[in-house]
């Protein structure tokens, strides 16, 4: 599974770096390093809401506060 996090200006200000850190930690805690690859991308063009995150082509908006729930639902949910 490929997760792409937008690191463009707008998403950067909304906390992409925090989400990168959170996801990295969650990937380790859940021991899914070999199943998930985390990438960065410049502006994806969906800057209006939270930080833009793309999973296998589907776009989501995530905030640092919702990152953990999002990870469990969308990432772990798909892996199971």
């Amino acid at each position: 599974m490929v997760i792409t996090i937008c690191i463009g200006s707008s998403c950067h200000l909304k906390g992409s770096r925090k989400i990168v850190d959170q996801f990295n930690e969650l990937i380790m805690v859940n021991k899914v390093e070999d199943k998930v690859s985390l990438n960065g991308s410049f502006c994806i063009g969906e800057c209006m809401n939270g930080v833009c995150v793309k999973i296998d082509g589907a776009l989501y908006s995530v905030l640092p506060e919702t990152a953990e729930d999002f990870f469990h639902k969308e990432v772990m949910g798909r892996l199971q």
Binding site: I5, C6, I7, G8, S9, S10, H12, L13, K14, S16, R17, V20, L38, N39, G40, S41, F42, C43, G45, C47, M48
Partner: protein
């Protein structure tokens, strides 16, 4: 020969003095670069006035094509006479380098210019003559790329005298030190800063005399073309890309959407990393064929901060440590400061709608403002800047 001269200097004031008794003038005429270093007798206000008058007179007269003899006559007749010593006196050095590579050096009582070529100190051929009772040394020569010329006031060769060193930092020692550090301090600014730092250390941060190091370095013209911001009309994308790809030097793209335009045109991919070297600056990206790819406004505002620090001469080791960092903003700043003589800015005026959101902590529709400021600072730093909006 298509050369460019980078000139820079650093002064240390004599202990307890607010004004420096050394003065450096850096000028550009239609066909040459001129650097003048004057050292006024004594210290403080008096020395500062003598040095300022001397360097300004020399600069203004040279700029208007006066001969050396006329300049010296004018100085002798103009400088106020010191009450205590009954003389009017300032020593000076003048270095003039013409665009065609001819060099001309004049020295009056300053320590001789250190001339470094291929990591060796070279002795310049001098002729001596007497003008208005003063013995003046003159030298004419041909410069080559990467030649470095170091002018200094006598505070440099007196550094540490009677304290750390019996006889001060002798000319030969300064010259050998300059050769040792020149690879690590490849620009005029870095070299002037490094030598001046060594003087300060020898004086144990307590300079016994005004101390000035002025360096001129012969550089090749180096062009950098920077593209940032999507053009208002998509029709202009191709035009911008032609200009960018046809430019002779390094190519820089700042901005996510801009990077996507470039990648689409070149039929390449934008690769990004998630390595945060600095938490405030988004990571850089990569596109084959482009020398540096970064995010836009955050990165450029960091770059502008660095350029402004450089322009204000707040140059200490901390500045250069920051400049050597690998975040996007510092990388762009280093490129513009140290590997660029001519800068072309290709700037799209499109404002990212998402950046207008009131939730954001500051208005990042400031790209054009950033660019205008960048242009001003780079111009002040002696770089040739062209700016085109789309």
């Amino acid at each position: 020969m298509n050369i460019k001269v980078e000139a820079s200097y650093k002064s240390l004031n004599k202990h307890h003095e607010e004004l420096c008794g050394d003065k450096v003038e850096i000028l550009e005429t239609k066909d040459s670069y001129i650097m003048i270093l004057a050292d006024g007798m004594g210290s403080g206000v008096k020395a500062n006035i003598l040095a300022t008058l001397t360097s300004k007179i020399l600069g203004t007269m040279f700029l208007n094509g006066a001969t050396l003899d006329e300049c010296v006559q004018t100085i002798v007749k103009t400088l106020p006479v010191c009450k205590e010593r009954q003389v009017a006196y300032a020593t000076f050095s003048i270095l003039q380098i013409f665009h065609n590579g001819e060099g001309y050096l004049v020295e009056f009582d300053n320590p001789s210019c250190i001339f470094i070529r291929n990591n060796k100190v070279i002795n310049l051929p001098f002729e001596r003559r007497i003008i208005e009772g003063k013995e003046i040394k003159e030298s004419r020569f041909q410069v080559r790329l990467n030649d470095a010329f170091i002018l200094m006031s006598d505070g440099v060769i007196h550094a540490g005298v009677g304290k750390i060193l019996n006889f001060g930092w002798l000319w030969e020692n300064v010259a050998n030190y300059a050769v040792d550090v020149i690879d690590k301090a490849p620009t005029a600014t870095r070299l002037a800063n490094t030598i001046s730092q060594a003087c300060d250390d020898l004086y144990m941060k307590n300079p016994g005399d005004d101390t000035t190091v002025a360096v001129a370095k012969i550089l090749e013209r180096k062009v950098v073309t920077l593209f940032t911001g999507p053009p208002l009309s998509e029709m202009d994308d191709t035009r911008v890309m032609h200009l960018l790809m046809a430019s002779p030097g390094k190519k820089v793209v700042c901005g996510g959407t801009s990077a996507n335009i470039v990648a689409r045109y070149l039929k390449k991919e934008v690769r990004t990393t998630l390595e945060y070297i600095d938490i405030d600056i988004p990571p850089i990206g990569y596109i084959d064929g482009i020398d540096l790819v970064t995010e836009g406004v955050r990165t450029l505002s960091r770059t502008l901060t660095m350029l402004k620090r450089y322009e204000k001469e707040e140059l200490d080791q901390q500045f250069f440590n920051d400049l050597d960092k690998k975040d996007g903003g510092s990388l762009v700043a280093k490129l513009l400061l140290e590997e660029c003589t001519d800068l072309n800015l290709l700037v799209g005026k499109t404002i990212n709608v998402a950046h207008q959101s009131p939730e954001l902590p500051f208005d990042i529709s400031i790209r054009m403002n950033l660019i205008e400021q960048m242009k001003d600072v780079m111009t002040k730093l002696g770089k040739k800047v062209t700016l085109t909006y789309f």
